[in-house]
């Protein structure tokens, strides 16, 4: 019998914090900018400078920790992590070693309709490193590299999960939930494309029932949720194959090659990490009072899980809808605003998850942007117009297209284009009579019990009224007249 394997995954998430200035100096954290223009003697690590901790970074660290159900440290400090790599001008990174800002938390994900809790080992604060651009095709063949220190010293939180993630899909769900939580708490933009949310993964496999973990590999360079899942799927399969062939997995760091869909060994020199952490003597320890923690706790917004719960209980939305909408803070804020203008939450949800998401994805616009042409009140008005019978769902899609173009209210568009639905029986009756007269065969079929035939007749009336007749009324009138 073939051996069954189980997968064990732990994730390390790095998220850039949304401060204006860097973690230990007054340089800007702004993304982009010409290379080496957002730097100062402190983040360049020039001799004689003194780093001073940005208070907001500590606040954000505490806030992220609270949002992730962690215990906040009463006493915390920064340490130096020593290693030679040119993305660090000092040859050490200021990070946190044994006394991180927050520990022992968790977040919940929903897998196949079931809630699963993933433990969070720790949240610590550190400085980001610079960016390297390698000359030539690959790092191994390049003759030199160019270094941009703009990103050096941008504040990060590193969030380490327990090895409690059991599938590549769970890993993706964990990262999606992490992103949502960090965005709701407003501590990070979490733009994976700009690198403000990054994720490394540790993965191992073991025969079901085995207690000890298998040998793990560390995966890097997954730049999207999809890439994370794909890379883990590939790597789990690769490790199982190695074991099945009687080999053993080598503990190493592997990089995800998006184009080829495989992971590759990054092994350069066999050199064990020896970071020689020690407390940074330039920075003073932090004593965090209960009062400070409580003040920050007061600023925590409604988090995605609470919002999801509210949508399900207060608005009777299906869990699926609630999850899709609360998965993005922007979208959820948009939905909440729309709810102020319509009581039909389910219809609004359908529009948000359908046409609106489609439009966002194709246009690349943000619903939170000032130039977004469809304010939530307008979409809610569209829902109301359909509910009132002013327009049919079909016409509404037409109106929605105009709302994108013109940024106008749907009622204005309907008025201007004369799209208002005809619900008046007298007006519709004339067309109905005409259609019945022109299609004796269908009428005959219907009378002989072919109920489907009515669909064709309704279609003919809709066509004759350019889709403006109320389909419900049309249906009823046809049935009455053909009795």
């Amino acid at each position: 019998m073939a051996i069954q394997y189980e997968i064990v995954i732990g994730l390390e998430v790095h998220s850039e914090l949304k401060t204006a200035s860097k973690i230990f100096c007054c340089s800007s954290t702004e993304f982009g900018g010409d290379p080496n223009t957002h730097i100062c003697p402190v983040c360049l690590g020039l001799p004689g400078v003194l780093p001073v901790t940005n208070k907001k970074v500590v606040e954000f660290g505490i806030k992220a920790g609270l949002a992730l159900n962690c215990t906040i440290a009463e006493f915390s400090k920064f340490d130096r992590k020593n290693y030679y790599y040119p993305d660090l001008p000092k040859n050490y990174q200021i990070s946190q070693y044994d006394l991180p800002i927050a520990e022992h938390g968790y977040l919940d994900i929903t897998v196949d309709g079931q809630q699963k809790r993933i433990g969070i080992t720790r949240v610590h604060m550190e400085e980001d490193a610079g960016k390297l651009v390698h000359e030539g095709e690959t790092m191994a063949t390049s003759r030199y590299s160019l270094v941009d220190y703009n990103r050096t010293g941008v504040p990060l939180v590193e969030i380490v999960s327990e090895p409690e993630i059991s599938s590549p899909e769970e890993a993706r769900l964990y990262l999606e939930k992490m992103k949502a939580i960090l965005q709701y708490t407003d501590v990070s933009d979490c733009k994976m494309e700009e690198g403000s949310l990054r994720c490394d993964a540790n993965i191992s496999v073991r025969p079901v029932g085995q207690k000890e973990f298998g040998t793990r590999t560390e995966l890097k360079n997954m730049n999207s949720f999809r890439a994370l899942q794909k890379a883990l799927e590939y790597e789990a399969e690769r490790q199982i194959e190695v074991l099945e062939d009687g080999g053993r997995v080598i503990q190493e760091t592997r990089t995800w090659d998006e184009a080829r869909g495989i992971t590759l060994s990054m092994r350069s020199k066999e050199e064990a990490h020896d970071y020689r952490y020690f407390p940074d003597p330039d920075l003073v320890p932090m004593v965090i009072s209960q009062q400070w923690i409580e003040e920050i706790r007061q600023t925590l917004p409604e988090l995605p899980d609470a919002r999801k719960e509210r949508y399900v209980t207060d608005y009777a939305l299906p869990v699926y809808d609630a999850e899709v909408i609360t998965g993005s803070k922007e979208l959820s804020d948009y939905f909440d605003e729309g709810l102020k203008h319509t009581a039909n939450a389910k219809a609004l949800s359908n529009w948000v998850m359908g046409e609106l998401l489609k439009y966002i994805n194709t246009s690349g616009l943000s619903v939170a942007g000032v130039d977004f042409p469809i304010p939530p009140a307008n979409l809610a008005e569209l829902v109301e117009l359909i509910d009132r019978g002013d327009i049919s769902g079909k016409i509404a899609k037409d109106v929605f297209a105009d709302m994108q173009e013109k940024g106008e209210r749907p009622s204005v568009i309907i008025e201007a284009r004369g799209l208002k639905q005809i619900s008046d029986e007298g007006a519709i009756a004339a067309v109905v009579n005409e259609v019945i007269a022109k299609n004796p065969q269908s009428v005959e079929d219907f009378r002989n019990g072919k109920d489907k035939a009515i669909g064709f007749l309704v279609g003919q009336v809709m066509k004759a009224t350019k889709g403006q007749a109320n389909p419900g009324v049309v249906n009823q009138l046809l049935r009455d007249k053909m009795k």
């Binding site: 200035s21 340089s27 800007s28 010409d34 290379p35 080496n36 400090k77 160019l146 941009d148 407390p279």
Partner: protein, 93 residues
């Protein structure tokens, strides 16, 4: 006494290239230094919390404000090699 391998490991961490003679010298000297520090092990530290900072200070913070950056030309002034706006470093691996 430190082994030659230990000296080589420490040298690698510090990116120092040592001759065989130097390795021998440093093995002795580093061992002497470590031995001297052994004296600290005689102190009873049972109820002493680890030192996080030599001075009794805490919570020194700055406000989240951006101020002036270093001019790019000035930032690169001491760079052994540069290209465009960037520092240039030798091949990494």
């Amino acid at each position: 006494m430190l082994t030659k391998e230990q000296v080589e490991h420490v040298a690698l961490l510090g990116r120092l290239e040592l001759s065989d003679a130097e390795k021998e010298t440093y093995a002795t000297q580093l061992s002497d230094i470590l031995e001297y520090f052994e004296a600290l092990n005689k102190i009873d530290t049972e109820n002493i919390p680890p030192t996080a900072h030599v001075l009794p200070i805490k919570n020194v913070f700055r406000e989240d404000k951006v101020s002036e950056h270093l001019d790019n030309e000035m930032a690169l002034a001491n760079a052994p090699a540069k290209e465009g706006n960037s520092f240039k470093v030798p091949r990494i691996i």
